[in-house]
């Protein structure tokens, strides 16, 4: 398979680019909701529009009413989300939760997927329990109780936790905190008893929660996949999510780079365009190289994942780490090359810096994934 978008994918990219630029742009979405202190941090109307565009159920199989597309396609939408800093539940709902639900029972799929496809439902993912991404350690416990389970523990930095109609929660049903086995994934409905959220606003104006489970009662059919066999589903979900986050990161990197290159062609100092200074030209060219490489590794990882290749796991970490580096460079260079106005809230380049930070941390930063590359490579 060639490492570029085929005809259908290129068409989708055009559509997604136009749609996000028109409807998902910074003025209409990010600033709009931020400046109103919106408790969701995103707009439900846009989510509904994204459903009409066919985006929300892209990864859902055709047999379940979705489009049965792959991660290359989801990544196309995510890149545009990144470019426009569009706040939306797409990554958590349509990529992470949708991947987990692939492993769910027909009953679970029937309960949740139609709402996702219609853009009526929002899902969140509750895996992390500390400020750093450490999915190997799961201490939240689910104990058998009658026909169902009782959930006890706490999850932190659950993105859009308070807005979610359903949370995919990773809990331990047996074994010790650091065991690979003994994990079970649950689909926890928002009205579950004894679940509480502490809402937090993050640097990029997105909303997250610290979520507590205090004997939260769940039906037996809330289990996604097998009891005690959740690690595999969790890994599949995380791999999809990481590749998705990397695609969004490429969009953030490109958006910031484009703004910066435009600025180099507009701002004059010393009687010339600042883009005429070779010191800046070289750095812009270097940045371009890094962003291109990041985009290449992301599409590679997407294709491997869609093909079910074993190496998708390694490449997901390579992609997440490489994109973190490239996008980090892009936003830093962006602010620096804008000079004083780069530091102002009025100008958008700083918003890219903020989003990049949050996205870098989500599902593991460059350090986490560099380590993972070492581990998966056997050193």
């Amino acid at each position: 398979m060639p490492l570029y978008h085929d005809e259908d994918q290129a068409m989708l990219a055009d559509t997604a680019r136009g749609f996000m630029a028109d409807e998902g742009n910074i003025t209409k979405q990010l600033r709009h909701w931020r400046d109103r202190d919106c408790p969701d941090g995103f707009g439900h109307a846009l989510w509904k529009q994204m459903a009409e565009m066919g985006f929300t159920g892209m990864l859902v199989g055709e047999e379940d009413g979705g489009l049965g597309m792959g991660h290359v396609e989801a990544g196309i939408v995510l890149e545009e989300i990144g470019r426009n800093l569009t706040p939306s539940p797409f990554l958590t709902s349509s990529v992470l939760a949708a991947t987990a639900l692939k492993h769910g029972s027909a009953e679970l799929k029937g309960r949740y997927l139609p709402g996702l496809i219609a853009g009526d439902s929002v899902f969140a993912v509750a895996v992390d329990e500390t400020a750093k991404h450490r999915p190997s350690r799961i201490t939240t416990r689910a104990e058998k109780s009658g026909n169902g389970f009782k959930l006890t523990g706490a999850k932190s930095f659950v993105i859009q936790g308070a807005s979610a109609d359903m949370l995919v929660v990773a809990a331990r049903t047996s074994g010790g905190d650091d065991d690979d086995d003994g994990i079970t994934l649950f689909a926890v409905p928002k009205d579950a008893a004894n679940m509480s959220h502490d809402a937090l606003r993050l640097v990029d104006s997105s909303m997250a929660t610290h979520t507590k489970f205090d004997g939260t009662e769940l039906d037996g059919d809330a289990v996604i996949g097998e009891v005690d066999g959740g690690r595999e589903v969790l890994n599949a979900m995380l791999t999809a999510g990481r590749i998705g986050a990397a695609a969004e990161g490429v969009g953030v990197a490109s958006g910031a780079m484009d703004m910066t290159v435009d600025y180099l062609k507009q701002r004059k100092q010393f009687g010339q365009l600042i883009g005429e200074f070779q010191a800046l030209q070289h750095r812009a060219s270097h940045l371009y190289s890094e962003v291109e490489i990041a985009r290449a590794v992301v599409i590679k990882a997407q294709q491997l994942l869609d093909a079910g290749a074993e190496s998708a796991e390694l490449m997901s970490s390579v992609a997440k780490a490489k994109v973190a580096k490239a996008a980090g460079l892009s936003v830093k260079e962006g602010v620096q090359m804008h000079g004083g106005i780069g530091m102002t809230d009025e100008y958008d380049i700083g918003l890219y810096m903020k989003r990049d930070r949050a996205l870098q941390e989500f599902l593991g930063d460059a350090y986490f994934h560099a380590n993972r590359v070492a581990e998966l490579s056997g050193y």
Binding site: T130, H133, F157, D204, K268, F277, A279, M343, D345
Partner: protein
Amino acid sequence: MSDLETFRSETRDWLEANCPAEMRQPVRDDDDVYWGGRRATFKNDAQKAWFEACRDKGYTVPAWPKAYGGAGLSAPEAKVLRQEMSRIGARPPLSSFGIWMLGPALLQFGTEGQKQRFLNEIARGEIRWCQGYSEPGSGSDLVSMQTFGEDKGDHWTVNGQKIWTSYADEADWIFCLVRTDKDNKYKGITFMLFDMAGGGVTTKPILLISGNSPFCETFFDDVTVPKSYGEDCPGFVGEIGRGWDVAKYLLGHEREMISGMGGGERTAAIGTAMKRHSAKTGDDLDPALRSDLAMFDVDALAFTAMAEKFMDEMKSGKGHPAQPNMMKYVGTELNKRRHELMMSVGGSRSLEWDSEETRGGKAPRDWLRTKANSIEGGTSEVMLNVISKRILELPGS
């Protein structure tokens, strides 16, 4: 005991007796820093006591002559004081652009009358100054600035606009670059001093990405600037039309200040603290992050040595006069890296923007603020250009 050792032990005793325990805590919030000025208030009694003790001893500006509000310390004595203060973690009693920027320029270029008046006001924290250099079209290319002062005999009438004027809305007076000769680029600028409350000055705060508004757009609308404030006290520094020389001299001091010398905090190693932090929160450091922290510590500890060498050389007139540009460049780039690493160690907790536990998102706001370090006072690119030109003497630069 040598004189210096006697001085050290006296200083220790004096600090012991006069620096309240609260003033030995790291600066945590903006109001922990005392800036002085007509409208200043103290956060608490300790801040007031520490400031007043230093003011009376001349320790707000220890190396300035006693006649101008300083303590008249020699360079080695000033270094001992710095060392002793940093040993107990004493906060600076007074921070101000008057101390860091205008003061040194007045010491170099001011008349006796200007020194008597303005330096004493600065040392005693009575007047807070701001810096009116940058304009919307003139940032890195400062000398192209357009704010114009029309000669009216005994005064100028000033019109124009400055931008990025830090704390203009809280300052009392401004030191300001004003064009007085449109035909002469370098020799047509006058370095003026005037009261912002005198009429015709408006300030409009600009919101930063960190959520704070520490700087302003500053507009001048027929502002009257007297050529003289009394005997031997002109309303400008240096000569009329030669303000660029003063401006450049002052920038050297600004760069020294921004590069974070003497404060110690910005240049210190952070690995140990970060390890402690992550142990406290129950996170372990990824080995790759640990190695980045170690590389940072190598650079930071080496830079600390550089900073000490630089200060010693500067104070004895030995250093290359363009060296502050290098210090500013390296110091600010290091500080940005420091905050990147702190964000990484903090993880998602460092993303919290307004929660109480994170004191209103102090970590991300501080991190974002550091991005200005390599812009304010001359950008990193400008620093590197100056090094190429003045130190390496590269052609065409």
